[in-house]
Amino acid sequence: MKKKGSGPRQYTGVSATIFTIFLWAYAIFSLYPLLWMILYSFKDNTEIFQTNPFGLPQVWRFENYVNAWNQYDVPLYFKNSVIVGAGTVILTIICAMMFTFAVTRLQWKGRDAARTFISTGQFIPVQAILLPVVQTVAGLHLMDTYWSLILPYAAINLAFSCMVYYGFFKGIPKEMEEAACIDGASIWQTFFLIIMPLVGPATMTIAIYVFLSAWNEFLLANVLVGTTAHLKTLPLGVLFFQGQFTTDWGSMGATMVIASLPAIVVYCLFSEQVEGAMTTSGAVKG
């Protein structure tokens, strides 16, 4: 037993121990691929498939990274990924925040229908609408611009973002607008100066989710910017190591590490904010 008064007391006993072991085991189970991916990026095909798929590399093949770096313009792809990711996040958040504000705080007929309409987007597989989307993007003459990726990505992430915002907006007490109204603030001022800062925490959460989804997207990127060298994003780098019959898996691993690392770093940097955000969402109840 821990002494009382030294913070919350810990669980003790056999079942608690078993549960703790379970928590740790699953954490390892979750983290292993990261480690595996990093190890794999230093191996060659023989080691990956035959002699040593899971251990430390027998020879550390840094040349895989050199290969990956030389094969395609990593800095350019990286820059594109950043621009597309950031653009998607900004656009999604602007659209979702305004929309959710309108359907939760403003009073009009058909707001529930509008909300349901948008939320169906959460359940549409991208593959199913791939071709029409490509035709639309081409029809709007957006090809060869960053918008060719940013707009579809934002549309895809809209439903989820609205759903998350909805909960937060609902939690804001009516008195907020009432007070603002009495103070003579316009509806626009209310939105930008009062509501927007209040849902900041949710914005942080959404930003991370949307960024990750845009960062890792492959299918649309392959079709929409696959033949536009100056717009290619990092996931497309994998293609340089994939042939019809054979693949240089080690260099592909290096490419995957290069592509995943920023996402992991971003998550580790901001995850705390997200959690802080989630906590304060309770405080909104005021």
Binding site: P8, S30, P152, A155, G167, I187, F218, M278
Partner: protein, 304 residues
Amino acid sequence: MKKYLSNRKAIIVFCLPAIILFCVFIFVPILQVFYYSFFDWDGVNQATFVGLANYKRLLLKDPVFKTANLNGFKFGVVITVYQLVLATIFAIAVSDKRIRFRKFFRTAYFIPVVLSVTVVCQLWGNVLNADNGLLNTLMSRLGINWSQNWLNDRNTAIYTVAFVNAWQWMGYQFALIVAGIKSIGEDFYEAAEIDGATSLKAHWYITLPLLKDTFNFCLLISVTGGIKAFSEIDIMTGGGPGNATYTLTYIMYNYAFGRQKFGYGLTSSAVLVIECLVIILALNWLFKDRENPLFSRRKGVEIV
């Protein structure tokens, strides 16, 4: 006040960007999917109207349609059970101040979500390889005679693939439930503790019922996730062995891009969209008893 909140100009300005974006890139494409499902079309050239022929063939004659639906169902069940059960347990655990290293656990459980599907499938494909995968190798070293043909068995491969999806996205549901618990607030637990309820009881009677809306949302995500499953199947089994792990999305991909039968492929998509909508409605009906159907409403926020 009422007038203040029904400012028409404001409503239009606030709604329009989202509505336009959604219509142009999601809704109109969906309409196009339905439109082309009545055509014989190779994806590039002029399409020929064929009426209901694609639907007749898919729904009534194609044996793979049944396989695909069954697979979608199995996939959905596996990921729903796996994700909801584990995510709930872990979310409750890391929300409990008496458990140590909570921050670490939170990051660890979420990490798979951060990785790309390609990376995740590469890993699991190698772990589950029947010939030299980690799992079978490990079992034979430990003397357990239970090596399985994880990804190559006609009857069970779909479960394996579903597991990989469940493993990756568990963190997603986990984060949602953690947020849900946070919004309930600690007062509940404290009250429960004073009452002398054991933690298990407190969670069972207090936490879970209050998370009903969050669960509804999670359930929607995982069930429809099952029906629209694609990437894991594409990367790990390629629909195989044979067509044993086909789903509706895979039928669409295979016909559209593999055989240049876009009309037929999009028919499969259309059926998929309809199935998803039916499921949304069914789940909403099941969870009905409050005003807003589709959204996770943080009830806790309002109760307190």
